[in-house]
């Protein structure tokens, strides 16, 4: 499949805990992005990390990228009930550079 994998498929944690989601892809990439999707809504861009970057932060979000392992992780610290959503990684390959391919997503539930 052209799409990679996200792990875990579903994650349920208590409010205040940290949540980590992992993404693996299959091609050489220009960049990798993470998106959030609330139930019944469109996707919202969270953060972009370029292939020459190893780590990036944005507020409570921390993204890492390991191009040698073709993997990325998204860490959400001090989770809140409002973080409950599905999270998708997506990447732009080197060839056909404009095409954004999405992973299968991780469904995150934050319990109050």
């Amino acid at each position: 499949s052209q799409q990679g994998e996200e792990d875990p498929q579903a994650l349920s944690i208590q409010e205040g805990e940290n949540a980590t989601m992992n993404c693996s892809y299959k091609t050489s990439i220009n960049n990798l992005q993470w998106y959030r999707q609330n139930s019944g809504r469109g996707l919202v861009h969270l953060i972009l990390i370029r292939s020459n970057e190893r780590e990036k932060h944005s507020g409570r979000l921390r993204v890492t990228l390991d191009t040698s392992k073709k993997s990325s992780s998204l860490l959400i610290t001090a989770s809140r009930a409002a973080d409950t959503a599905s999270y998708f990684c997506a990447w732009t390959g080197i060839q056909g550079a404009q095409k954004l391919v999405f992973g299968q997503g991780t469904r995150l539930t934050i319990n109050p």
Binding site: Q3, Y35, R41
Partner: protein, 115 residues
């Protein structure tokens, strides 16, 4: 700034009928995408436009799906005839630049149910 507009939000049809979805991207965004998202899965790219030209339609089932972007602004995605497996959310997204990188802005989606 107005976001990506899509209509209708919901559509229920019977198999073999036809349906059309409309998308108006953010003003000035040259690149427009249509994605299909089946329940529980990630979005799958159907077609990508750069202005009014097709950049990638390799995963568009061309025997039943068609899309156009006249004048390089809004776009229409049509399915004719629909099959049960076409039940999904059809997401439209736009991006300012056609080059690599850059975030996509998504509409709320059009949810299609085929009975």
């Amino acid at each position: 700034e107005a976001g990506v507009a899509q209509s209708p939000r919901y559509k229920i049809i019977e198999k073999r009928q036809s349906v059309a979805f409309w998308c108006n991207p953010i003003s000035g965004h040259a690149t427009l995408y249509w994605y299909q998202q089946i329940l529980g899965q990630g979005p799958k790219l159907l077609i990508q436009f750069q202005n009014n030209g097709v950049v990638d339609d390799s995963q568009l089932p061309k025997d039943r799906f068609s899309a156009e972007r006249l004048k390089g602004v809004d776009s229409t995605l049509k399915i004719q005839p629909a099959k049960l497996e076409d039940s999904a959310v059809y997401l439209c997204a736009s991006r300012f630049t056609g080059g690599s990188g850059g975030e996509l802005f998504f509409g709320e989606g059009s949810r299609l149910t085929v009975l």
